[in-house]
Amino acid sequence: MRESWGRTLRLGVAGTGVALLQTSWARRQPPKLLGRRLLPRDEAGAAAVAPAALAGAAATLLAETHSHGLPATLVLGDDCVRQWMVTPPANSGRLADLQAVAAARFEQLYGESADGYRLSAAWQARRPFLAAAVAAPLYEALCEVMQACGLRLQSMQPHYVTCWNRWQRGLAADAWLGVVQGGQLSLGLRQGGRLMELRSLGVSAALRADAKGLRGLVQREALRALGAEPSALALCGDVPPAWLAAGGGGWDCRVLQSQAELGLGDAGEALARLAMAGLA
């Protein structure tokens, strides 16, 4: 009881596997990586349709670390969720109207009904807002693991949302926020401090080594959005080392890292960074 007092768990869940982190509300103790489980290659990248594999990996990891009874936070990789912007209809005053529009937009974008997904959104009646969905089988499987291990699920958020909530207050009003996870860049277009668009972009190995290519990517997205190139880009997550030198020429590009992530160093693994997302 005494050992568990003040401890919380953070479980990062991505298509490639899961990572388990232990934190303590006592600031002197840094987060501790308890372990990780990688999925076999043929199952990697198909987490959305293989919830059993992910849940099994999480259950094995939790059982090994004897984490019964602790509060837990789940960070879902952006490859495990679907995120899209929703424009509310004019004169919409009810939540049911917004939910219907969000579901309709989901079906329009992804070609399938939202009935098999669990939705959550930053509901707004007058401005475009971000909505996210996780496949119901994955959600239920993870909840069962939490319950079986006696953990108290406090939060289950997408990776981008976790990073946004952690860093957005310190950003310039028109600075964009990008979250890198493996081969995916979730790029949030900001204007006046608000999220206007969220783009999910593939990051090839070549692009990971090309700082100039990053700026070109940002410029193209700005043109697509019919907006000006942002004055600054903030990146967090599994940022390639080459991108650290992307700034310059009147364009600010910086990497946001928590104290816990700094402790990982350059060799830090993506799943560990995923579990640490949102920490101070």
Binding site: S120, L130, Q157
Partner: protein
């Protein structure tokens, strides 16, 4: 977006009050609250004890004060000068007379036939001396007879009188004394 630009997107079920209580911060708040409650309880108990002690002391002081008053009242006459004590007793005796009853009896006996000019009590001997004027001697005698009939007086007599000249319109002035019933010299 919610206040301060946060995105309130969360797939986890809504947290109940138990989850809030599970947060470590609330444990600290709970412990501090219990500590403050305990300290307040101890303080209250101390104050209550002090109040009880003060009430007890007050009761003792009041009792002592009461006792001091009673013996002082009883011992006072023994400590007085005999002459002063005599004078005091005489005054008390005088005050204890039924003056109202006697005055009523005097007035009732008058019946408007005479004028009562002066009264001088002598409480020590239980007497009352009066000076009155009547229209004629018969009225004087009738008044004295009526005074004798009053139960408040045991004896009535004339100590001095002045009869007017015959065929004179002058009144009869007389002095009388009476002894009230319970007083015997």
């Amino acid at each position: 977006m919610s206040a301060r630009g946060m995105l309130p997107i969360d797939f986890a079920p809504a947290l109940g009050w138990r989850a809030w209580l599970a947060a470590p911060g609330w444990a600290v708040v709970l412990v501090l609250g219990l500590a403050l409650l305990l300290a307040a309880g101890v303080q209250w108990q101390r104050a209550d004890g002090q109040a009880a002690q003060l009430r007890q002391e007050l009761a003792l002081v009041q009792a002592h004060l009461q006792q001091a008053r009673e013996p002082a009242a009883r011992a006072e006459p023994a400590g007085l000068d005999p002459q002063a004590l005599k004078a005091m007793n005489a005054t008390v005796l005088q005050l204890n007379r039924p003056w109202g009853q006697m005055l009523n009896a005097l007035e009732a006996a008058g019946q408007g036939t005479l004028a009562l000019l002066e009264l001088q009590p002598d409480a020590k001997r239980g007497r009352l001396r009066g000076l009155a004027e009547a229209r004629h001697p018969a009225a004087m005698l009738a008044y004295l007879e009526r005074l004798k009939a009053q139960p408040a007086f045991s004896a009535v007599w004339v100590s001095r009188h002045e009869l007017p000249e015959p065929d004179s319109a002058a009144v009869v002035r007389f002095e009388f004394e009476l002894q009230w019933a319970e007083a015997q010299p």
